[in-house]
Symmetry: C3
Subunit: 323 residues, 3 copies
């Protein structure tokens, strides 16, 4: 059996995505019931963060611990061999001799794929610069499915920087696999979604006006807008309030809408929204743990994808290979 | 039951302090008997050092490992989310989704309390700038109780920088809960104890002359004096020798006196003192491990505080909730 | 029994080296059979890298995890106590209260020995600047013994920077303990082996011409040559091709020759050599894991050196003290 990497969400079929989602729900059940598992006892994760990201690093490392495994960890400043001129491929071919799975965050587009090509062990992409961040897309998917039970028929507003927002692009493409999904793409003109990410999107509407679409929305996905993205400060000042969510704006939203955000936020969601039961952005963080547990167990051969498909189709059974 | 944080020594009653002390002694017994425990198996500590402190970080992380738990760890340079403008509250609300307990060292006064207020999980203060460092005060307390058996009736000299020395202030306040304790506060005029820390201190004497008080002393607590604290170098040169402990000065001290220091030392204790059996400053380091084990177990609900009180009053029983 | 440190390869007799080698082979067997061991359950390694070396740090930390132990870890930037003026001895006397064994990498010659002198617990040298790097020499030794079965009678070419290459010096001395070993020392005139490392070497030949000696060689040990080492760029340009190994040059080598390199490489071995079955440089990395497992278990009293000697002499038995 060829080794399994997690490089891009687009590498997975809808069935596979559903199976991994099912495994993630199973992980949440297991953690709630037992606290931690023994599935990866004796296994070592090499956590390679060529650029720092404390939250993503902690999420993967905690996921590994919850599965009973161990972690060797390095962040940007420590990659002494590469300072001496070593290639990424050689670094990976070295690290894989100490570990069973590699998680890599690297500032360059395509770096995770290069790492996966060099490695005999599974590689998980934790963000390759402007490229993919598949585990974030998985956890968004998980959060929507958990809260709304279904993807089909949803009206989803993506708000903020839709031009540079890596997460948004993956999530839009993933959700477009489902029928009858309507997207409201709410951004300033300067930060519209690049057309290539909309090729397979059946139903969408672009607007600068969050307030008018808000009453229709089932999922409100907010992102950070950076002032530096605007050529003219006047444009920023004109538009920024449309993209700040607060309690009074929320009065017009559905009672069962959910509010998401990839975090960190700066001021695009007022803190008075945090106590609203529709706010799910900190729950997203926790969901990331279950998704990453499922993905680590999956690439290390501890999840039977066929059984998962059965389960995703309603049958129950023991998903985890404890052998 | 509300969650338990460890923010300041002043949050605890004398009974609670005694109970935690008792639990710390129990931890030392258990470590000596078994090497390590399983009390926190499956639990994760998030070790957040916004400013570096290798010794304090290692102490907490080793304590967690000795209890069977795991650790995700970050030091100053890695807090990438906060560089993007995230608040401390949001950082904490994120991290708590990966962990069961947070240990925080942060340069700003009051930061640990802010973190505790934001978190649903227990927060332990590992030093908030000029504020508190309660686990250091606990380990000082533990060391004195272990070596002298009682606090009552002791004559304690605190020597060095009593103006800025955070540890000294907490330790003075803690020991003042006991009857009949006499403090010699030995410091240059420029570095005297601020009066607010002496409000509840019944019996103290301020002096610049260590030599003359030394023969009376049961506990000699030395600290580092930084040259930069003096306006005039002449004052520093005049006084520095009074605050350096060496073998010949020790000749005038009691045989059962103990010598303490929060470490790191620079030159305020000559290395020829290290071999003196009265020197306890490296033992303090080890005592910190037992105290931090007790505190981690306590905030995670693994120590029954009522049973501890019984034990502190002489009854024996199984202190640890293994459930 | 006195504590055991690992400071320099020259501290060990030939019998002891063979015994540790035997223990390392045992570790490889155990890892292949079981994945990981429980030999150091409850033990803590303090991994102190005063200068960064991700690969060496990961190797020791992974070795500790494979033995069931735990790790507290710090790299250069974090040594806050030493920034305050603490001596290395005091740092070590503090750290040892949290840990059972210390691994130290430090830029200064002799620092590991100073650390070992200060510590009551075992200290393992992971490189002390221009001094020793004994675990690298052990893994080179292991790799040759594993691949060639014997050291006696081998023809070994050491290629590259033989003047500054710390690893080379230790490895030459170690292999010189065996009879009938012939060394080809292949380097530019500017980078010849210092004579003091050749005092006990019975049979060697110095040359600048790799191509002509290659057909004789059983072990080809390549190292990196730094352009900066040459006074004249013309010399570098004249010589550099002699020290680059590629597929066409390899055509003249023995079929059962092995190719080694301490890594990282820059361009002294072309990547088309990686797929050649004689290339063993990434296997060396993995061998380092087994050797470091054996050394950690050895210094912590979990390997019975007398039984190892028996085994090295052909007898079989249970090497590991599981008690």
């Amino acid at each position: 059996m060829p080794k399994q990497d997690i490089i891009s969400i687009s590498d997975f079929s809808k069935d596979e995505l559903e199976a991994i989602l099912e495994a993630s729900f199973k992980m949440e059940e297991e953690v709630n019931a037992k606290g931690s598992l023994d599935l990866l006892r004796g296994k070592i994760l090499a956590s390679l963060f060529f650029e720092p990201s404390t939250r993503t690093r902690f999420s993967f490392e905690a996921a590994m611990f919850k599965l009973g495994g161990q972690v060797v960890s390095a962040t940007g400043v420590n990659f002494s061999s590469m300072a001496k001129g070593e290639t990424l491929e050689d670094t990976i071919k070295t690290i894989e001799r100490y570990a069973d799975v590699i998680v890599i965050r690297h500032p360059e587009l395509g770096s995770a794929k290069i790492a996966a090509g060099a490695a005999k062990i599974p590689v998980v992409n934790a963000g390759d610069g402007p490229g993919d961040h598949p585990t974030q897309a998985f956890l968004d998917f998980y959060t929507i499915k958990k809260e709304k039970k279904t993807i089909e028929g949803l009206k989803i507003a993506m708000v903020g920087d839709l031009k540079y927002g890596r997460t948004m692009h993956s999530t839009i493409q993933l959700l477009s696999l489902y029928n009858d999904v309507k997207f409201y793409l709410v951004s300033p003109e300067e930060l519209k979604t690049p057309s290539k990410y909309l090729e397979n999107v059946a139903d969408y509407e672009e607007t600068e006006d969050l307030k008018s679409v808000l009453p229709e929305v089932d999922v409100l996905y907010m992102t950070r807008i950076q002032k530096e993205r605007f050529a003219e400060e006047a444009d920023y000042l004109r538009l920024k309030d449309s993209f700040i969510l607060n309690k009074s704006l929320l009065a017009n939203a559905k009672n069962d809408m959910i509010i998401m955000h990839p975090l960190p936020r700066v001021n695009e969601i007022a803190t008075d929204v945090d106590e609203d039961r529709r706010a799910k952005y900190f729950d997203q963080v926790e969901n990331g743990l279950y998704v990453r547990m499922a993905l680590l167990a999956f690439v290390l051969g501890k999840i039977d994808i066929r059984k998962l498909s059965l389960r995703a189709n309603g049958e129950r059974g023991n998903l985890l290979n404890n052998g």
